[in-house]
C-alpha cells in the first residue's frame, strides 16, 4: 500500500486543474434541451481540441493514454471545477468500452475518433415499453435483407435520443429464439429512414427522453457490434461499465460532497441532526472514493470488474440522492425555489432517477445477493 501521490500524479493534477480553470465555459444550457445539447457538443469539442475529452483512451483515437489513477484524478478535478457535465457520457462510458472490446478495426477507426470529438453523440436504445428491468424481453425485430437489417418495433426512455447522432440498440435478430438468445447489438444512425424519434418530457419537463419508432427502418449490417446473435453478451459487458466506475467515478460525488460541506459551513446555528446528515453523506463520498481506489488497484493488476459493480451502483445512486436531499434540507424553504443558481434542486430531481436507470437498485441487490453472495436463485 502506498497512498502518497507520486510527483508525476501531483503534476498531472495541477495541469488538469489549471486547464479547467482557464477554459471554464461558464454556465450553459441543459443538455436535455435542443439548444443546450448543442452547447454541450461545443464544450466537447473544446475538451477534444485540448486533448481532455477522453484522457484514458489511446492517443490514436484522441486520448492521452492516461492510466487509471490519472483518470480518477482527472475526474476529481473535472467535477470539482464545476465545468458542464458530459453529453458524450453514454458513448464514452458505455459504448466505447464495448467498441474497444468487440468492435472490428474498421469500427474502432470510424467511431472512436468521432465519439471523442463530439461529432457523434450517442444515445442508448435498450429499454422498450414492455422490457425495462427484464431486458431479455425486448421485441424490436431486425431481419436481415441483403446487406441490411430491417427494423420494426419501439424503444423508449432513450436519454437525449431526440438530439443524438447515433443510437446503440439491442434488437432481436432471431424472432424464433427466446429471451437471451437471438439478440444483436446494432449501431443505428439517427437519420435512418423509417425511424421516428419523439421526445418525452422528463420529470423536470425537459424533453430529455425519446421514444423511437421503427417502421421498416433499414440499417446496414456493417453496424453490428460483436456479431449477430451475440447481443446479450455484448450488452452485459456494457452494463458492467454502466454500473461501475466508468459511468460514475468518485470525483462527481466528492465534488458534490465538498459543495454540501461548504453549504453547511455557511449555515449559522446548524441543527445538529442536519450536521450529522451532512457528515454522513460526506463520509460516504470518501468511502466511494476509497472503494474505487481499491478496485483500481485490482484492475491495474489485471483483474476484471465482476458483479461487485452492482454494489457500487446501489451505493453511488443512493449517495447522490442523500447528498442532494440533505442540501435541500439545509436550504429550508428556499430549497424548492427553481432558479438558475439552484443547482441542488436540478441535481436532486436527477438524483431521484439514479436508483432507476442503469438497472434498478432492486435488480442490483438481486445481483449482489445471487452472484456476489451466492444465494439460491429460486
Amino acid at each position: 500500500m502506498n497512498l502518497d501521490l507520486a510527483p508525476q500524479y501531483v503534476a498531472f493534477r495541477d495541469e488538469c486543474r489549471q486547464w479547467l480553470t482557464d477554459n471554464h465555459p461558464g454556465r450553459i444550457g441543459s443538455m436535455d434541451t435542443a439548444i443546450g445539447f448543442e452547447e454541450h457538443r461545443a464544450w466537447e469539442k473544446v475538451l477534444f481540441d485540448a486533448g481532455w475529452s477522453v484522457p484514458a483512451w489511446p492517443s490514436v483515437y484522441g486520448g492521452c493514454d492516461c492510466d487509471l489513477i490519472e483518470w480518477l484524478i482527472y475526474e476529481e478535478e473535472y467535477w470539482l471545477s464545476g465545468v458542464p457535465g458530459r453529453v458524450s457520457a453514454n458513448g464514452v462510458s458505455l459504448l466505447a468500452p464495448t467498441i474497444f472490446n468487440f468492435g472490428t478495426q474498421e469500427q474502432q477507426d470510424f467511431f472512436l475518433p468521432r465519439m471523442a470529438s463530439g461529432e457523434h453523440i450517442w444515445a442508448q436504445g435498450w429499454s422498450e415499453p414492455e422490457a425495462g428491468s427484464d431486458l431479455a424481453g425486448i421485441k424490436t425485430k431486425a431481419i436481415l435483407d441483403g446487406d441490411d437489417f430491417i427494423l420494426n418495433g419501439q424503444k423508449t426512455w432513450c436519454s437525449r435520443g431526440a438530439f443524438a447522432d447515433w443510437i446503440f440498440c439491442i434488437v432481436r435478430t432471431d424472432p424464433e429464439a427466446e429471451r437471451h438468445q437471438g439478440l444483436t447489438y446494432l449501431l443505428v444512425p439517427a437519420e435512418t429512414p423509417g425511424m421516428e424519434r419523439r421526445p418525452i418530457g422528463r420529470l423536470d419537463g425537459e424533453p430529455g427522453f425519446a421514444e423511437l419508432f421503427f417502421d421498416d427502418a433499414r440499417v446496414s449490417a456493417e453496424h453490428v457490434l460483436g456479431g449477430v446473435g451475440q447481443g446479450w453478451a455484448v450488452a452485459m459487458a456494457a452494463a458492467g461499465s454502466e454500473r461501475g466506475l466508468s459511468l460514475r467515478s468518485p470525483g462527481r460525488f466528492m465534488a458534490a460532497a465538498e459543495r454540501l460541506r461548504a453549504l453547511a459551513a455557511n449555515v449559522t446555528d446548524l441543527d445538529p441532526r442536519l450536521r450529522d446528515e451532512v457528515v454522513d453523506a460526506w463520509i460516504k463520498a470518501q468511502a466511494y472514493r476509497w472503494n474505487t481506489y481499491q478496485m483500481a488497484a485490482d484492475l491495474m493488476e489485471g483483474d476484471e470488474i465482476g458483479p461487485e459493480a452492482s454494489e457500487g451502483k446501489v451505493f453511488w445512486s443512493e449517495l447522490d440522492l442523500e447528498l442532494h436531499a440533505t442540501a435541500l434540507r439545509l436550504m429550508g424553504p428556499m430549497g424548492e425555489v427553481a432558479h438558475a443558481g439552484n443547482d441542488w434542486l436540478d441535481g436532486y430531481v436527477f438524483a431521484l432517477s439514479g436508483p432507476i436507470y442503469a438497472g434498478t437498485n432492486e435488480i442490483q441487490r438481486n445481483i449482489v445477493a445471487e452472484r456476489v453472495l451466492g444465494l439460491p436463485r429460486r
Partner: protein, 325 residues
C-alpha cells in the same frame, strides 16, 4: 498510489486466521467465559510466538517493526474469530505506547508474558484480568500496575469488565501520545468490527441457503436477499475506509488528518457491523435468539464494539469538526 495489501501482508493474515480457526473456535470462546481470567488457554503464547504481539514494536526492541497497515487485517481476523482476549488494547495501543515511552514493560508485553489493557475514556476497563492498564491521565498516558476495580458484567461474555475505583501504582509514559493512543484504539476496534460483520454475513448466507420454509431455501426470498445485499454493500464501503485510516495512522504526521480518517473509518465500521448484526439475527429467526447457538458470539461483539472507543455519533462529530462544520 496503490491501495492494496502486499502478498506478505495477505500471507500473515492467512496464518493468523488459521491460528484462530485452530486455537480459538467458538467452543474455546465459550470455555473462556468460565475461566477465572476469561482467556483462551495457550492462545496468547501462540500469538506471541507468531509475532502478532510484537507487530508494532520496533526491531531494536525485539519487535517486528511493522506498522498499522500490517496490523489492520490481523485485527480484522480477531473480530472474525470472536477472539475474547484484549488483543486490540494490547497489540494496537499498549505495545506502541510502551515503545514510544521506552518503558521496560515492553519486553514482557511482546513476549506474551503480560497482557496490558486500556482505559482511555470513562472508568470502564475491558479485559479486567490484565496485568497492567494504559490509562489516560489528563494529557498524558500512564501505565497503571496496581489498581482497584469493581467487577461488572457485560452483555458480551467475552468482555470482562472492571469499573476502576482507585489507582495505587502507576508509571508515567512520557513520549506516548494519548490522542494517538485513542486513534489506534478506534482504528483497531473498527478493524474488529469489519471482521465481526464479515463473520455474521458469512454465517447468515450459509444458514439461509440451508434453511427451508414453504419448500424453498429462505435465502431464495427476495426480502432476505436484499437484507443481506445491504450488509454486503455496507461492509464493502466501510472496509476501505478502515484500511485507509490504517495508512493515515502509520504515515500521516498531521493529527487532525489522522483523527478525521480514523473517525470516518470507525463511524462506517460501527454502522456496518450494527446492520450486519440486525440482519443476521432477523434472517436466522428464533434460532439466532438463543444462547446455545453460536451466532450470539458475534452479535454481542457487534453491539459492544460498535460503541467501543466512540460510537457512530461521536465519530461523526469528530469528522464534522475536522471538516469545518
Amino acid at each position: 498510489m496503490k491501495f492494496s495489501f502486499t502478498d506478505e501482508q495477505n500471507m500473515f493474515r492467512e496464518t493468523v486466521r488459521e491460528l484462530f480457526a485452530d486455537r480459538c473456535p467458538p467452543d474455546a470462546v465459550r470455555q473462556s467465559w468460565d475461566n477465572d481470567d476469561g482467556r483462551v488457554p495457550g492462545l496468547w503464547a501462540a500469538l506471541a510466538e507468531m509475532g502478532v504481539l510484537a507487530v508494532l514494536a520496533p526491531e531494536a526492541a525485539g519487535g517486528l517493526g511493522m506498522n498499522e497497515v500490517d496490523l489492520v487485517r490481523i485485527l480484522e481476523e480477531a473480530g472474525y474469530a470472536g477472539v475474547p482476549e484484549p488483543l486490540v488494547e494490547h497489540v494496537a495501543v499498549a505495545v506502541p505506547a510502551l515503545a514510544e515511552a521506552g518503558h521496560a514493560a515492553l519486553e514482557a508485553a511482546i513476549a506474551g508474558d503480560s497482557t496490558i489493557t486500556l482505559n482511555l475514556s470513562g472508568e470502564v476497563i475491558v479485559g479486567a484480568a490484565a496485568d497492567a492498564v494504559v490509562h489516560r491521565h489528563g494529557d498524558t498516558l500512564q501505565l497503571v500496575t496496581e489498581w482497584q476495580a469493581d467487577e461488572a458484567a457485560s452483555i458480551d461474555q467475552s468482555r470482562r469488565l472492571g469499573v476502576l475505583t482507585d489507582i495505587t501504582a502507576a508509571d508515567p509514559l512520557d513520549g506516548a501520545d494519548p490522542d494517538l493512543a485513542f486513534d489506534r484504539a478506534a482504528l483497531g476496534t473498527a478493524a474488529q468490527c469489519i471482521g465481526v460483520a464479515r463473520r455474521l454475513l458469512e454465517a447468515t448466507v450459509e444458514y439461509v441457503a440451508e434453511r427451508h420454509q414453504f419448500g424453498k431455501p429462505v435465502g431464495s426470498y427476495q426480502a432476505v436477499k436484499h437484507h443481506l445485499a445491504n450488509v454486503k454493500i455496507a461492509l464493502d464501503f466501510a472496509a476501505p475506509l478502515v484500511y485507509r485510516a490504517a495508512w493515515s495512522v502509520a504515515h500521516d504526521d498531521d493529527p487532525a488528518a489522522r483523527g478525521r480518517d480514523v473517525s470516518m473509518a470507525k463511524a462506517q465500521a460501527s454502522e456496518a457491523v450494527d446492520l450486519a448484526a440486525r440482519q443476521a439475527l432477523q434472517c436466522h429467526g428464533a434460532i439466532g435468539y438463543t444462547f446455545e447457538y453460536d451466532l450470539q458470539l458475534w452479535l454481542k461483539r457487534a453491539w459492544t464494539l460498535a460503541a467501543a472507543h466512540g460510537d457512530v455519533r461521536f465519530h461523526r462529530d469528530r469528522v464534522a469538526a475536522a471538516i469545518g462544520i
